[in-house]
């Protein structure tokens, strides 16, 4: 049941992604990207990961708003210019190559049943509440066992906002001479 729903969602997301690429109207493209994000969020819900689903849907709404506000409200409405055939072909070939190289690695990992995966996950599930006091094991992993990763993520966000501030400030302080 869940597998069928997931396959349906995947097909929906692929169609929406292709539509986002193919359409000339920017608003349609942005809405198609939003449909892909919505599909990802529902897929996370079906896979019983509500934490990721909440984050995904919130970030998706925000990104959609940003895209609409930063492009369409400024009068940029349609995509112009020719599609690069050579670049697209090179990208597709590279992605297929990487997929072929990565497949043996992933099939050798044996998710969920392998000893190396079992050890960490069973420890988190059994000892997480008593060790960290956090009933939500995802939060326990994010902010206690793997807090370094969260610190790195916060640093990335901080750096991004500094970069945006600096870039936009230069543009605003020194208007282009025409």
């Amino acid at each position: 049941m869940v597998t069928n729903l997931l396959i349906f969602l995947l097909l929906f997301m692929i169609i929406a992604a292709v539509a986002a690429l193919q359409t000339k109207n920017l608003l349609s493209a942005v809405i198609s990207v939003g449909a892909v994000g919505f599909g990802v969020s529902v897929a996370f819900l079906l896979l019983r990961a509500p934490d990721v689903a909440i984050t995904q849907i919130a970030v998706e709404v925000l990104t959609l708003l940003l895209l609409i506000r930063a492009t369409i409200w400024r009068g940029v409405r349609t995509v112009s210019g020719q599609r690069e055939v050579f670049g697209s072909a090179v990208a597709v070939v590279l992605v297929l190559l990487i997929l072929l190289l990565v497949l043996p690695v992933f099939s050798g990992l044996s998710f969920g049943v392998g000893p190396q995966m079992e050890l960490a996950s069973s420890h988190y599930l059994q000892q997480g509440l008593s060790e960290t006091g956090s009933a939500n094991i995802v939060t326990a992993v994010l902010l206690d066992y793997r807090a370094y990763d969260t610190l790195g993520e916060a640093t990335v966000l901080f750096t991004a906002i500094i970069g945006a501030l600096v870039l936009m400030r230069q543009q605003a302080r020194k208007p282009l001479e025409e």
Binding site: P50, D51, A53, I54, T55, A58, V59, V61, L62, L65, L66, R69, A70, W73, R74, G75, V76, S80, L129, S130, E131, T132, G133, S134, A135, N136, V138, T139, A140, L142, L143, D144, A147, Y148, T150, L151, E153, A154, T155, L157, F158, A160, I161, A164, L165, M168, R169, Q171, A172, R173, P175
Partner: protein
């Protein structure tokens, strides 16, 4: 950046506080239910962005001035780092959950988890303010000064 119609403004007046409340709930109960600092922070930022879109940039900057947002952004990041460093003093290692080791609360209660709820709040402040700032910077450049307005409706694009 001007506001929208009266209908949008009225609906925003009713819903913005509820969205903010939901974001605060997701942050505060992040260690008990689904959610957490990042998701809650994004929802809080969405509430601010709703106000910005409905009422316009000037009103949004009156609610939350840009300098305050910048400082709260830095404060959130520094608070998270400070929690990690205090763990070094209290427990010996970076990011040690010393609070939980000393005063463990009841399981499944809000006041539990040591530094985890505090870290959630710090991350929420940080994420909310950075996303609000990103939105504001990308959507309007008027905040850099009243006389320096740049029209991004540029001539080359069309």
């Amino acid at each position: 950046m001007t506001g929208m119609t009266v209908i949008v403004k009225t609906v925003t007046r009713w819903t913005a506080a509820l969205i903010f409340l939901y974001g605060a709930y997701v942050v505060a109960y992040g260690h008990l239910g689904p959610g957490g600092g990042f998701a809650g922070g994004v929802i809080l930022a969405c509430a601010y962005i709703l106000i910005t879109l409905a009422y316009g940039g000037e009103h949004a900057l009156r609610v939350l001035p840009r300098a305050v947002a910048s400082r709260l952004d830095s404060f959130g990041a520094l608070a998270f780092l400070a929690l990690a460093l205090v763990g070094m003093v209290g427990g010996g290692l970076f990011f040690t959950n010393w609070l939980q080791q000393k005063w463990a609360g009841k399981a499944f209660h809000v006041f539990n988890g040591g530094i985890i709820p505090l870290a959630n709040v710090a991350i929420a402040i940080k994420v909310c303010m950075s996303l609000f700032l990103v939105f504001f910077i990308l959507s309007s450049v008027r905040m850099f000064g009243k006389d320096e307005q740049i029209d991004f409706r540029s001539k080359e694009v069309d």
